[in-house]
């Protein structure tokens, strides 16, 4: 079917600016992905899935300029023992990265996997992304599979002693970066993946995660700092039997962020939690789009998203739980809430449930509201100044999402970051 002309033109204009990396063994996957992009076209304003977020600047041939921000605070997770993998404007930096050897994992650059005999990587690159194109199209992810210039492949076979930490530095005001990571967690293995940094002026990131039976993956990410940055990220996760996936994202600043999480529970008794906290000010626009498919028995999924919006900021939540036929005993929970600190800010939510099994417990709730005046007065009557009291209540509001982080040191790092942001922005 022919694409609408506007979409066709926009897609061609974007593709004209891109060169497919000459990446040997991922070449076939990239060609397939390009075919998907050509068939779907890149997102346009009229697409239902982009109703609340304008894709124009994410699709445009050039990345809009984004000033670099030079904060005086240390980078997140700075004092945490971790294996650092650094990218500067989307390009792997061996100098700034640690040695990539760590017991229990094998880490390679995507461009190197062809020289090694690692079947799992060839069987994963672009595969979950392709699966994730139905029932909803995600063309920016296919674009990423086709054109990502760099990325990392992580094979987890044991329980590494420290987290693997992606650090995304932003160095040029016009950088336009695409990264594609793949992670395979073997049966019984367990790993923590961290991500932080502004990455680029425009960042398109795709991560495919395949967790075998009994595997565990924790993911904690912070997107922040540079105010004018834009990002479209996709995480595609497939879970085997009794496996666990827990992901938390903190977003502060950023003029436009769209985070998609596409999770497929394919083995019985698997657990997937995705959570996010964001604080936005002014022309901040943040979109969490989540799609969780239950395709096995007795699985649990949780979505916990909290947004604090002020001075005209916009928050979007599109979250869906799809329970397939036969996925009995599904336990699905979804909550999305926003705290609007003024009348100019807005929260747009579209929670959805689609259920084809009869023995399931699914709930969803979405609210948005102002600060609780009674609680605020109570705090102030004890001598806590308005600003500090408001910040306490704001943090309290975000707590349910932050509490999804299991590791105390990581959750403390996130809370510190939030406290810092709140004290600077109030």
């Amino acid at each position: 079917m022919a694409l609408p002309e506007v979409k066709q033109t926009a897609t061609e204009a974007r593709l004209a600016n891109l060169v497919m990396p000459d990446a040997g063994c991922t070449r076939a996957a990239r060609e397939d992905a390009l075919a998907r992009v050509l068939e779907m076209g890149l997102p346009g304003r009229r697409d239902e899935y982009w109703k609340y977020t304008r894709p124009d600047t994410l699709v445009a041939p050039e990345a809009p300029r984004a000033a670099l921000f030079d904060p005086d605070e240390a980078m997140l997770f700075a004092d945490l023992d971790r294996l650092k993998i650094v990218f500067v404007d989307g390009v792997f930096s061996p100098e700034e990265s640690d040695d990539l050897t760590l017991e229990g994992v094998t880490i390679d650059r995507i461009e190197d996997i062809c020289f090694k005999d690692i079947h799992w990587a060839k069987e994963l690159y672009g595969v979950l992304e392709a699966r994730g194109q139905s029932p909803v199209q995600r063309p920016l992810a296919a674009l990423n599979t086709a054109f990502a210039a760099d990325g990392i492949a992580i094979h987890v076979s044991g329980k590494p002693s420290k987290p693997i930490s992606f650090i995304y530095r932003h160095a040029s005001e016009t950088s336009d970066a695409m990264l594609h990571h793949i992670i395979r967690v073997e049966s019984g293995a367990e790993v923590t993946i961290l991500e932080n940094g502004p990455a680029a002026s425009r960042f398109n990131k795709c991560m495919e995660i395949d967790i075998a039976d009994g595997g565990v993956l924790h993911h904690v990410r912070a997107q922040g700092r540079d105010h004018e940055r834009r990002a479209a990220t996709h995480m595609f996760t497939r879970l085997g039997q009794e496996s666990v996936y827990k992901s938390f994202t903190l977003t502060v600043n950023g003029v436009l962020t769209r985070n998609e999480q596409v999770v497929e529970l394919t083995g019985d008794d698997a657990v997937a939690h995705v959570a996010g906290a964001c604080v936005g000010d002014g022309d901040f626009h943040h979109d969490d789009t989540v799609f969780i498919t239950h395709d096995a028995v007795n699985c649990e999924s949780r979505q916990v998203f909290k947004k604090v919006l002020r001075n005209g900021a916009t928050g979007v939540f599109q979250g869906k739980i799809l329970v397939k036929e036969g996925a009995q005993k599904t336990d699905g929970y979804q909550i999305s809430q926003s705290l609007l600190l003024d009348d100019d800010s807005q929260f747009l939510a579209k929670p959805e449930l689609e259920i084809y099994a009869d023995d399931v417990a699914c709930s969803h709730g979405s609210t948005s509201g102002a600060i609780d005046e009674t609680a605020l007065f109570y705090l102030r009557s004890r001598g806590i100044p308005t600003k500090e009291a408001t910040n306490m209540l704001t943090l309290a509001f975000l707590a349910e999402a932050v509490d999804e982080i299991e590791d105390d040191a990581l959750s403390k790092a996130i809370v510190d970051r939030l406290e810092g942001w709140l004290s600077r922005h109030s």
């Binding site: 005046e373 009674t374 609680a375 007065f377 109570y378 705090l379 102030r380 009557s381 004890r382 001598g383 806590i384 100044p385 308005t386 500090e388 009291a389 306490m392 209540l393 943090l395 309290a396 509001f397 975000l398 707590a399 349910e400």
Partner: protein
């Protein structure tokens, strides 16, 4: 210490006059009790003194140690020494009781130009005071008042008062919802704070509390005014005969 003169208060949103000329002076070192029928304006008086939104002072004044309370923000009043133990303490999910207490204590110290209390000193003090009010470690860790029983909430109010050491303590029906033993604990908490420099305004419906916290002066409030003032015997009279006789007498 606390001087309220001819205080007139209406609701901000409605043309409803609630306080219609309250005159009341609480001297340092004294305990004053206020009794009065439901809806007479006792809680409103306590809210207006602590600075809650929604009320408009149309006439009169309220000062603490000569300072105009009505001009101050709630947090400034707190730092100046006003404390209100709420009739209905507020639940605040997500804010730990300890964090709340420490933030409050240090905010007030900061406002008064004093050094913040160290974490260790604070802990020591809060543990000792909590213990005497039979507030266990678990309650200190939980979010403020969330899941507390009615009596636990009231004891938590007294703990805050003990930690903040205010000059002017206003207790709004702190006895309601307390069992006999808890009432004694609360009264002991209050009595421990009684000293030369501190005033108390105790709002209650029952003589029971006043058996434990002996008032110096008792006021009867009705329809937005103090209609009668007397000694401790006045509370006994209310307990025995209700308000009918007193109200008939003043009308």
């Amino acid at each position: 210490m606390l001087e309220i003169k001819n205080l007139h208060v209406k609701l901000e949103e409605e043309e409803k006059q609630i306080l219609k000329g309250v005159d009341l002076t609480v001297e340092a070192g004294k305990v004053h009790a206020i009794m009065g029928p439901n809806g007479s304006g006792k809680s409103t008086l306590s809210y207006v003194l602590s600075g809650r939104d929604g009320y408009e002072v149309t006439d009169g004044s309220a000062t603490l140690g000569g300072e105009d309370l009505l001009e101050m923000e709630p947090e400034e009043r707190a730092a100046a020494g006003v404390f209100l133990a709420f009739q209905y303490p507020v639940e605040i999910p997500g804010v730990g009781n300890m964090t709340f207490l420490r933030t409050a204590v240090n905010a007030q110290r900061k406002a008064r130009g004093e050094d913040e209390l160290s974490a260790a000193d604070f802990l020591k003090e809060v543990r000792a005071k909590a213990k005497s009010l039979k507030i266990d470690a678990d309650m200190l860790k939980r979010p403020v008042n969330v899941g507390f029983s009615g009596g636990e909430k009231k004891r938590n109010e007294i703990l805050q008062m003990a930690m903040l050491e205010p000059k002017m303590c206003i207790l709004d029906e702190t006895d309601s919802g307390l069992d006999v033993d808890a009432m004694k604990l609360v009264a002991e908490g209050v009595n421990a704070l009684r000293d030369e420099g501190r005033g108390f305004l105790v709002i209650t419906h029952y003589q029971r509390l006043l058996d434990h916290i002996k008032p110096d002066v008792v006021h009867i409030m009705a329809d937005g005014k103090i209609v009668k003032t007397g000694g401790p015997d006045l509370a006994l009279e209310v307990e025995n005969n209700g308000y009918a006789d007193i109200l008939a007498e003043v009308n």
